[in-house]
């Protein structure tokens, strides 16, 4: 089969590409061709030089999506997006890439469907940013889309297009509202949600980390591995069992910041948790207070999507991937 990943240089997209390449199969069929696209050059997975093509492009540019649709891929993973902060800072760019780019991709698939009748599975990365406060402590599957950011608005519009293009038979789409990813790889950044990862990742390599909120803050999470599993599962799922509501709130591991720290201490010892410095930040506290503590995700669970089992497992998997615990926390 032929697989396209748009956004293949991103945190999840790159992992997804490596995983599909390593498996060599998807949905029980051999993968013959892997087509990776992003705004920056995607990496070719090991041993795939002959079967992988990479493209550097701006999905928001007219015509950019057409070649991918014309190649009649079996599965298209669409993860490309201008992230929340940038979509808020640059209104036109966010709408051009996140709305026009997504619509152009879906329209290219529609046009290929008109030519050849080809109906690819399309897995679209949406976000819990489609929800906006106030909401209940656990957001039900049939809760209103009331985004409070332009990014959330663009993702909600992408969801609506995906559902309508699927209902029309142009494609077979599944939209995934991902939980907050934790532990994010890389270095600490300024994102308001960064501390959820920072307070684990940095101590695990012996570095200090700042906690700007209190330990009773609750949120829900998916490890990078769980996120990849979600995309693979969405590619394999029977569309008929999903019905017309094609956009699915995914289950996360519900945990407080205190739960995270307790897991860190169990896995890496008190030396690790001692590296967390409490520095309350009212701005971040306010932003985080507007986020959903959890989603019900009843439909996703019924469809076989599974959350991580524990933060202990998430931390152990992170350590297994990154190699060592760092000198301070390894004792």
């Amino acid at each position: 089969m032929k697989i396209v990943i748009i956004g293949a240089a991103g945190m999840i997209g790159a992992r997804l590409a490596r995983r599909i390449a390593a498996d060599g199969r998807l949905n029980g069929r051999d993968v013959e061709r892997l087509i990776l696209a992003d705004a920056v050059p995607p990496s070719v997975p090991d041993g795939w030089d002959d079967r992988c093509e990479t493209h550097v492009l701006d999905i928001g540019e007219p015509g950019a999506a057409e070649p991918f649709a014309k190649g009649r891929p079996d599965v298209v993973f669409h993860l490309a997006a201008i992230v929340s902060g940038e979509a808020e800072a640059d209104f036109a760019k966010g709408y051009r890439v996140n709305l026009d780019g997504t619509r152009a991709l879906f329209d290219a698939i529609r046009e290929e469907n008109a030519r050849s009748g080809h109906v690819p599975r399309v897995v679209f990365a949406s976000s819990i940013a489609v929800f906006g406060a106030p909401f209940p402590a656990s957001i039900p599957d049939d809760f209103a889309l009331t985004p409070l950011t332009s990014y959330g608005t663009q993702k909600a519009i992408g969801e609506l297009l995906l559902a309508d293009y699927t209902r029309r038979g142009f494609m077979d789409g599944i939209g995934l509202r991902l939980p907050t990813i934790c532990i994010r790889p890389g270095r600490p950044n300024k994102a308001a949600s960064g501390f959820f990862s920072n307070i684990l990742r940095e101590p695990l390599r012996g570095e200090p980390a700042v906690l700007p909120v209190s330990e009773d803050v609750r949120h829900f999470f998916a490890s990078p591995s769980a996120a990849v599993e979600f995309f693979l599962h969405a590619a394999a799922i029977d569309g008929a069992s999903v019905g017309p509501r094609r956009n699915i709130s995914l289950p996360g591991l519900s945990a407080t910041v205190g739960d995270e720290i307790a897991a860190l201490e169990r896995v890496a010892g008190p030396e690790a948790s001692a590296l967390i410095r409490r520095e309350p930040d009212e701005t971040i506290r306010g932003i985080v207070a507007g986020w959903a503590p959890d989603v019900e995700a009843s439909r996703a669970r019924a469809l076989g999507f599974r959350a991580d089992a524990s933060f202990d497992d998430i931390i152990r998997a992170h350590l297994a991937e990154t190699g060592s615990m760092g000198s301070d926390a390894s004792g």
Copy 2:
């Protein structure tokens, strides 16, 4: 003040124009200029030749909306749309007019806002077609948008854009999800919802009408006058009291077909109701079974939107407007 109505030749748009012209005022201020646009020529209200301009245009054409935004109107009523059946039959046309046209109007307003800081009130005609079955018997205000038509999808996207452009401060939008209009003027048509009006309007002029569903079918309604009141109220309402959720499910008069017929008999006598012929139609029954019996509309009621009081009143108002009861029913 200066008022723009886009869709001013339609059933509600034309009534709204006549009403504003007759009042001569809106929100306690004199109306100096009335700008009416539609795909077919709008009528100039009586006595408004000097203060009313009309435009014939396709809102889906690039640049069509710009002049209206540049004129810095105080209020823009946007009712122009390709209707449900046509948007389903002609995919590209529905998206071009209902999505691209709406977005182009909002973008033209955004661009004028960037130039001059002008922030008009924008009242957008949305629809209960943004909801799709299954839903509870009375749809709550925070229910998911899961449209099952392209028209409903395009209206839901318009709602999301309106909320985001308002949150950004480019305009001050209110989206109205209107109940089914009854009694629709004109002749019987093939729309699945047509019978709700036909079984009143036709007997009231002494003509027979066909009832394709059983008398226990429940739905919710607004008279054309109530719909006009909704638009006027939305133009006057304090945006701050609405908050970030700018799209509002409006209250309707909840009634069964049997309630309609009983009201017809009370107002126009058994000769009128005897003109209704029962001809069960499984297709129409099936379509109507997928519609919402009612919406909660708690927010709309709290904001002062009011449903019609009774079908008796709706029928009397229709008679007062159309003149006579027709020979057969006048006895």
